[in-house]
Amino acid sequence: MTLAKVLLVDDEEDFTNVLSQRLIARGLSVECAANGRTALQKAREMDFDIAILDYWMPEMDGLATLKKLREECPHLHVIMLTGHGDVKSGVEAMKQGAKDYLEKPADLQELLAKISEAKSQKELLFEQAIEEKINKIMGVKGW
């Protein structure tokens, strides 16, 4: 399995700066964005496996960013970061299409496990899509 490409989105730049250093040290490829607009722009320009989104962000909040990302990059898996004890926001994010959520401050091992799980799911879906395409072509050709 190739290492995950992560888009980390939070207006707390000290947070994204340190967390990205720790994820990069574990071999992940990480890009940071300080708001939803920049995140969308980066998601259009680069291919990410997972986006980690803060729920509470200025201008375009986590849910609005999630909605836009789902429209423009449907294969991108999103993990939402919510406030401590804020289960309601996490559940709402999952209803809106996030794969999972984590409460801040997050445990790195838990975050890595969720990234790995999301990456595996994405690869599995990709393989299934390829297999379906091959089967379709074989069916058309009568092989």
Binding site: D11, E12, F15, R22
Partner: protein
């Protein structure tokens, strides 16, 4: 009437504490990551990687920075929590306004609004109902933030004349949609209801009515000597 006042007070208290706890949670999240980074770097040093030494110092500075930020948040929250200790107390209007602006800033930032405070240096000592002036100032900040639909800057300024202290909350490109008009009407009604009951100079029964004009100017005017 008293029940309505208590409900509004509780709702205000809830909004402020939610905003402050979110801010504090961000501090903890950064400290948590910095502590993790320190562990990562220590592990590297044990493995003979000396490159981490400088970054270890930076991580320690980062933790100190967040601790200072956390201290400010806790101090503000503590002053706010004690504002209900005495129904009437003497306080510096500047400190109250600066505290409320800092506590309202996070909610405003979610709307893309930034506060710019230009408070005069001289303290404005007032004797009155601190909790209510905090609530009105917070409502004023929320109203101005909502009126800046597309984001922008809210300017918070103060001026002191002989018998008048005025806090003005102004925003360029003020837009009055349905929600803003509702907030404006509620704030005006609150001001009318509270006017004349907010400020007293203890012992001499001098009344300091609060004056409201729009965009927003909260004025404390000394009258009736």
């Amino acid at each position: 009437m008293n029940e309505m006042r208590e409900d509004k007070g509780l709702a205000f208290f809830g909004r402020v504490t939610a905003s402050v706890s979110h801010e504090m949670n961000n501090v903890l999240a950064i400290v948590n990551e910095l502590a993790g980074l320190v562990n990562d770097l220590l592990y590297g040093l044990k493995q003979g990687d000396d490159n981490g030494l400088e970054r270890l110092g930076q991580a320690a500075e980062g933790i100190q920075k967040q601790i200072r930020r956390g201290e400010e948040i806790v101090k503000r929250m503590n002053r706010f929590a004690h504002s209900v200790d005495d129904p009437i107390s003497e306080f510096d209007l500047h400190v109250v306004i600066a505290d409320m602006a800092a506590m309202a800033q996070r909610r405003a930032a979610l709307k893309g609004v930034r506060f710019e405070t230009m408070l005069c240096q001289e303290p404005i000592m007032i004797t009155g109902v601190r909790f209510e002036i905090q609530r009105l100032a917070f409502a004023g900040f929320e109203l101005a933030s909502s009126a800046l639909a597309g984001g922008g800057t809210v300017s918070i300024a103060s001026r002191r004349l002989e018998n008048l202290a005025e806090i003005s909350i102004t925003a360029a490109a003020w837009k009055e949609n349905g929600d803003v008009l509702k907030m404006k009407s509620e704030l005006s009604a609150d001001m009318r209801r509270l006017n004349g009951t907010l400020f007293w100079e203890l012992g001499t029964a001098i009344n300091f009515p609060l004056v409201l004009s729009f965009p927003i100017a909260l004025s404390v005017e000394k009258r009736g000597q």
